[in-house]
Symmetry: C2
Subunit: 332 residues, 2 copies
DNA sequence: GTGAAAGCGCTAACAG
DNA sequence: CTGTTAGCGCTTTCAC
């Protein structure tokens, strides 16, 4: 066996009897190299099994080929599905996806403070995270590209969800189906650094009832914390004037409504109509009627925008709001 | 305003009137620096707002502080939940988590071939991915640490799931509850490069029936592809000798069984008992009885092991199998 | 304790 | 088209 040294461009250069620059060129701009020498180098390259070391490349180049996603509890399906969209465009542009899950407030701050200055990333996407001016300024001061999802700050491009509109759509749909005793189930108790999409969805939902002069009783609107969900829903369904339709602010809540319905042997949608929000993967698996916010697509768009900004810092910032649409399945 | 240059150790050194080595030291081994000079440097550091550039550090050090996870369809909840475990130990050891989602066979190969040689990572965790000897050899040849989850190869440490045992547990539990007409629903049509956990779960399930001499009719065992699931389950529940209990090889399948049951207005568990596998987050939300494979924990263990191996290449390889346990909720 | 100096492995002008 | 050379920004011996 030959000498087993970590192959570098130097050893390749020696082997091929050329300079390191030539080796670097056949790697980065092959068209600048004469066919003949290129072949010679290529031969040496796979003879030695040479592969450029990523860290060294990154150090010499300005690009790292890596973007990060900062997300609260990244296991929440809606975030994961957006990441799938992000991942797909990153992959096709050969960027790596680094995930920073945050569970504590401190972590958000830590990441938001270090990321723009350590430059271990080419850009960042944040999900449902609030961002204050101080932090934003650090990003712009360091000229660090970022796009925010589900939160708006003028210093960045933002990919937004029109939650109010979503709530209105749900209300109109339910009302259109003839329901008049409706209820709303939202997400209670999210971490402080995360936004609460439920709020806007409720606002929009309620707006329609007000506009149409239909009653949406206060006790038909609940925002249970995760561990209260099942109980609160059960109370709701035990109330004397039990709702005939429920708008759950997320598919996960809708699934839980379905669970309580099953336990109480209520037939869906006959006894109880249920509509969710998000159109997660599993929504189609369980035939849940829901409002799609095009999660995958929104992730793609965010990623595409971030890449554009990385490649061209002059890229104007802008806000994007995706279309919402009702996906009719069999729970309404 | 002062001169706005990217602060480097050089500028800090100049500002503090010391050498760059000293600056580097207060950053990496402060105890080697006299208190006095340390303070001087520290002062210069935050006066200039200096932060070491990650890429340069990585280039000079041997460590990158970054591990990767290679996973088929990373949106599958069971993978995501394992990643949560992985992420938590990585975070507490200040390692970054980079995700390589694979959707095509080619990608698996690409990553498996490039990762060990480009060294953009300190180590890799693969999930439910088959790994052949050629690839394995490249890893050991490059001395690249990896741990495999849900697949066993002697060149690595492996974190395994005893699927057969899981199937047996399910069967014994159902039989113990007095069910004799049981059925099995597995996962059909997974990508070729991914393993099929359903198979082992079925094997174990079936074993018990054979051992006890109880019939598990062939038409009560189905492996539908994703788009067939609902239909096949419905057929199952329409059969003349309809099963009184179903073991679904994953919580997601179980959820779909529940959906069909709802549509057919079957009461669970009275008319139909359902048990799943995985104990995903949502299992508790919907009161699903299931078999826990400690997803989070297994991710943690895999990550801990990988880190050990990264820190000490001599670390002996080993196989870990987590305990399975039944989580009784209200669908059985 | 601290500084000088030699890399790390590659890219990117700059000449020729 | 190809080689020379100067970095990239930090870590790490090795002396003093």
């Amino acid at each position: 066996m030959a000498n087993e040294q970590e192959p570098t461009i130097y050893s390749v250069a020696r082997e091929a009897q050329v300079s390191i620059s030539t080796v670097s060129r056949v790697l980065n701009s092959p068209h600048l190299v004469k066919q003949e020498t290129r072949d010679k180098v290529l031969k040496a390259i796979d003879q030695l099994g040479f592969v450029p070391k990523a860290a060294a490349q990154a150090q010499a180049k300005k690009q790292l080929g890596r973007v990060g996603v900062l997300t609260p509890f990244f296991t929440h399906p809606s975030f994961v599905q957006r990441m799938r969209g992000i991942a797909s465009v990153l992959a096709s542009n050969s960027y790596e996806l680094v995930i920073y899950p945050v569970e504590l407030v401190d972590q958000v701050y830590y990441y938001l403070e270090t990321i723009p200055v350590t430059r271990r990333l080419d850009g960042l996407i944040t999900m449902a995270l609030t961002m204050d001016d101080t932090v934003a300024e650090r990003f712009v001061a360091n000229n660090f590209p970022a796009v925010l999802m589900e939160f708006e700050h003028s210093a960045f491009s933002n990919v937004l969800v029109d939650n109010i509109r979503g709530g209105r759509i749900a209300a109109e749909y339910l009302l259109g189906k003839g329901h008049t005793r409706c209820a709303f189930v939202g997400d209670g108790g999210l971490p402080e650094y995360s936004i609460r999409p439920s709020d806007g969805r409720y606002t929009g939902f309620n707006q329609i009832f007000i506009e149409k002069g239909i009653d949406l009783p206060a006790d038909h609107v609940i925002f249970p914390t995760p561990d209260q969900v099942l109980d609160k829903i059960e109370q709701l369904l035990n109330s004397p004037n039990r709702p005939t339709a429920i708008f759950a602010a997320s598919d996960e809540l809708a699934m839980q409504v379905l669970t309580v319905a099953r336990r109480k042997e209520l037939t869906v949608p006959k006894d109880l109509a249920v509509i969710g929000f998000d159109d997660l993967d599993f929504a189609s698996h369980i035939g849940l009627t829901t409002i799609s916010q095009q999660l995958d697509e929104s992730g793609k768009i965010a990623a595409e925008f971030l890449l554009k900004q990385i490649q061209n810092p002059e890229q104007p910032k802008l806000n994007i709001t995706l279309q919402l649409s009702i996906i009719e399945r069999d729970t309404v």
